[in-house]
């Protein structure tokens, strides 16, 4: 591909259709992350011991830290335990997807596909596809809204956005409603933009200085990948906290 210049795609490339569902290279990468997580989880569960090994101790420390932090933020032990799987999975899935992107198998194996039968990379980082990040944002959004409705009550929760007690409160409610919906865009484009920018940066640097220079940038991208995963999970947690807070009158 080198002789054709740098290939940057804002959208994922379709490889084939499966039961009329298009399968893109980012979806394959997302399945790779999912299966990696499942294999690790399965192996860990099989070797779960009362006296933990190194890896089990690491996982336990992570879970305990996150759980205690969530309990602290939500001030509700039961809710924290209910929400934990979603927050943790968001973090792990984004982290694994972001880190897997630096494996040499990504964007190096090409296959003939698409309408024009051009060469298409078999694997492309899952979070460089807005479909993935928007899906995560939708999950985060519905988690927040459903928990808000369940905890506060439907009418009280809706009263946050549609308040007819005074013109000022009505305006504030509408602004709240718009900002609630804007989160979807913010969530999805933040992750998408960060990861795509990192990928493009490394691609450009690779084009000009193929040796050594990409290494520190890749290290930095690992850090960015971790930060983005943490931000996505943390923001979901904080928005849940805001949603379950009692409406002030």
């Amino acid at each position: 591909m080198g002789e054709h210049g740098i290939h940057i795609a804002l959208s994922a490339e379709k490889l084939f259709d499966f039961l009329s569902f298009p399968v893109s290279n980012t979806l394959i990468a997302s399945y790779l992350s999912i299966s990696t997580l499942l294999v690790i989880a399965f192996l860990l569960r099989k070797n779960l011991k009362e006296l933990p090994g190194r890896f089990q101790a690491l996982v336990e420390a992570l879970f305990e830290y996150v759980l205690s932090y969530m309990e602290e933020v939500l001030e509700d032990r039961k809710l924290a335990r209910k929400l934990f799987p979603i927050i943790m999975t968001i973090f792990l899935f984004i982290l694994v997807s972001n880190w897997a992107e630096h494996l040499p198998i990504f964007e190096t194996i090409f296959t003939k596909a698409g309408e024009g039968h051009e060469y298409v990379a078999l694997l492309k980082s899952a979070n460089t596809d807005l479909n993935t990040t928007l899906a995560l944002a939708i999950i985060s959004f519905f988690t927040v809204e459903i928990l808000g409705v369940v905890t506060v009550g439907f009418w009280k929760y809706m009263g946050k956005f549609f308040n007819f007690s005074s013109p000022l409160n009505f305006a504030i409610g509408i602004i709240e409603f718009v900002s609630e919906l804007a989160r979807l865009i913010a969530f999805s484009f933040r992750l998408f933009g960060n990861i795509l920018a990192g990928e493009v940066l490394i691609l450009v640097v690779k084009y000009f200085v193929p040796y050594f220079l990409p290494v520190p940038l890749m290290a930095f991208e690992l850090f960015v990948g971790f930060i983005q995963a943490a931000i996505f999970a943390l923001l979901t947690l904080f928005f849940v906290k805001i949603a379950i807070a009692e409406v002030e009158h």
Binding site: L10, S30, L38, L48, V59, M88, T89, F93, N131, I139
Partner: protein, 147 residues
């Protein structure tokens, strides 16, 4: 909006597949990883709590045992001391009694021996006197006969 989505290749079907996959992942990880690990952590925490409580209890018990042991030991020592003192006193008294008895016995024995000796002496003296008188009579008879 539709144009923006087209640029980024947003497809409702792919979106749905992604959401579905994530849901499956959440459920699978809850079942495989979160549930067992958190249960394990909770169980271990309970166990450690119980262990700490037990250790505290054992320590308190040990302390109380030690205290009662000390008390019993002190009591036993005091009792032993008292008994020893009593025994010593008793022994002293008995010794004195025995000594006194022995002394008095000895005195009476000496006295009776003295008396006996005196009587024997008297008897012997008497006997001697009688013998001498007899001899004297015999001698006198002999002298008289020869003359």
């Amino acid at each position: 909006m539709g144009e923006i989505f087209a640029i980024f290749g947003v497809d409702w079907k792919v979106l749905f597949v992604n959401i579905f996959n994530f849901g499956v992942l959440v459920i699978a990880l809850s079942y495989l990883l979160y549930g067992p690990v958190i249960k394990l952590i909770d169980e271990r925490r309970r166990k450690i709590e119980k262990g700490l409580r037990d250790a505290q209890k054992a320590k308190e018990e040990l302390e109380s045992i030690k205290a009662s042991e000390k008390k019993i030991l002190a009591k036993a020592q005091a009792e032993a001391q008292e008994k020893l003192l009593n025994a010593e006193e008793l022994a002293k008294k008995e010794r004195e009694e025995i000594l006194q008895e022995a002394q008095s016995k000895a005195l009476t024995t000496i006295a009776s021996a003295k008396r006996q000796a005196e009587e024997e002496k008297k008897a012997i003296m008497q006997e001697a006197k009688d013998e001498i008188a007899k001899e004297a009579v015999l001698a006198a008879k002999k002298i008289l006969a020869s003359s």
